[in-house]
């Protein structure tokens, strides 16, 4: 059985890590998945060290060959669908080709699958934007809003999801995107408050804020810390705190601006 070239193998392993890390996976999962793939390709002495912003990888077969690569992950966007797809792809691959020792996974097939996962979207953008509206609206109901407030919160949620999507194209930092998002929530709500009578804006704004809360960063921070990745646990915790502060700041700033402009 011919062995897979170390260069080719390490490139594919790095690609797996890149997709997982860029869609916001826990670093422990990234490391585990990379090691699984390496093991499957016949490089069992591989070591990986992943932080939230970069990957260090040494692929080695334990005898003569080894190769080290570093990859810096610049942009990260939450995409739980991609994490799920890559994880189940690799689990299926390991189960079908490695545990039974029937033969190695064809590397070109894995590459093609990874490319497909990386470039498909599960939902069209407009569905995601309307789903954002639904999130915001139903949270408004959950915290005690009326049906009229639900309608306004739905509209605010759609508008904010749309603007966050457009802001994402500008490649703002996560902090700034959350700040501007929170400002827009208050701005849209206040504008609706002018036109629509008899609504309480509190629940609508809370519904909007729930779209932006850093749930993923918080969960990742805890799970990373528990699995022993202290560096990324700390980094994610700081990210969560910063984002919460950004949301609070954005809300406050827009309230103040609205008051200074003479609004109620």
């Amino acid at each position: 059985m011919s062995k897979i070239e170390i260069k080719e193998a390490s490139d594919v392993i790095l690609e797996v890590g890149r997709i997982l890390l860029a869609s916001g996976s826990t670093t422990n999962r990234v490391e585990t998945m990379m090691l699984k793939v390496a093991n499957c390709f016949g490089y069992p002495k591989t070591h990986a060290f992943v932080t939230p912003t970069g990957i260090f990888l040494t692929v080695s077969d334990g005898k003569s060959e080894h190769r080290t690569q570093i990859y810096r992950v610049e942009s990260r966007q939450m995409n739980l669908g991609k994490i799920t797809a890559v994880s189940s792809l690799i689990d299926a691959m390991v189960k079908a080709h490695c545990d039974t020792s029937q033969g190695k996974m064809s590397i070109s097939k894995l590459k093609a699958e990874l490319y497909r996962v990386d470039h498909t979207r599960n939902w069209p953008t407009w569905v995601q934007i309307f789903a954002g509206g639904a999130t915001s609206g139903f949270f408004c109901l959950l915290y005690g809003g009326s049906w009229l407030e639900f309608a306004v919160a739905y509209a605010v949620g759609v508008l904010v999801s749309l603007s966050v999507y457009l802001l994402g194209k500008l490649r703002l930092t996560l902090y700034l995107a959350n700040l501007v998002g929170a400002m827009l929530i208050v701005l849209f709500t206040k504008m609706f408050d002018v036109w629509v009578p008899y609504i309480k804006i509190d629940n609508i704004i809370i519904g909007g804020i729930m779209l932006l809360v850093p749930g993923l960063a918080m969960v990742n921070a805890i799970r990373d810390t528990m699995s022993g990745d202290l560096v990324s646990g700390m980094a994610k915790a700081v990210e969560a705190i910063f984002n919460a502060v950004a949301i609070a700041t954005g809300t406050g700033v827009m309230f103040k601006i609205w008051t200074l402009l003479g609004g109620a």
């Binding site: 991609k82 939902w123 509190d202 729930m210 809360v213």
Partner: protein, 170 residues
């Protein structure tokens, strides 16, 4: 109406489910797991309300409902072949203290420092309580995995290479 199992709780359960369906579609998830995630989120908010009614303690009910729902995630996520962290991320969202964050900011702008610090304290307390509940469940899962691994295998898990070498010799 002195018990919490009435139609109001059921409605809250439904709102929680619906909002998390929206949230998980926004996070690009698709398939049957969206329904399980929504069910978990409804369960989270529902148990929170029920426990809050009986215990009258906010933090205890947050802790217990998160604990319960994390155990639910650990079981169900494995059944539908999804990473557990994906499940937990979506499911805890209804309890995340976004409302306290907003009220704190608003009280601060109104000049009411006492109310503002009261709400800020709640943001931290609820956040840390959720974190602790997740930490408890995930560290117990890690412990369980470790025990299972050491019980099952004499060698280490990643030594497939030996197997492959043996195959080659055949």
């Amino acid at each position: 109406m002195n018990h919490p199992f009435n139609y109001l709780t059921l409605m809250q359960f439904c709102w929680s489910c619906c909002s998390i369906i929206g949230f998980s579609i926004r996070m690009n998830l698709r398939g049957i797991k969206v329904l399980f995630i929504a069910l978990g989120a409804g369960l989270n908010w529902g148990t929170y309300l029920v426990i809050l009614h009986y215990s009258k303690s906010l933090l205890l009910s947050v802790f217990l409902s998160t604990l319960l729902v994390c155990i639910y995630c650990e079981i169900v996520a494995r059944m539908v072949h999804t990473p557990v962290s994906v499940f937990v991320t979506c499911v805890i969202i209804p309890l995340v203290p976004g409302s306290s964050l907003f009220y704190a900011m608003r009280s601060f702008l109104e000049g009411d420092r006492v109310q503002a610090s009261h709400h800020i304290a709640y943001v931290f307390l609820i956040g840390v309580t959720i974190a602790m509940a997740i930490a408890v469940v995930s560290s117990f899962t890690l412990l369980g995995k470790r025990i299972a691994r050491s019980a099952a295998a004499a060698g280490d898990q990643f030594d497939v290479a030996d197997l492959m070498d043996k195959d080659n010799k055949k």
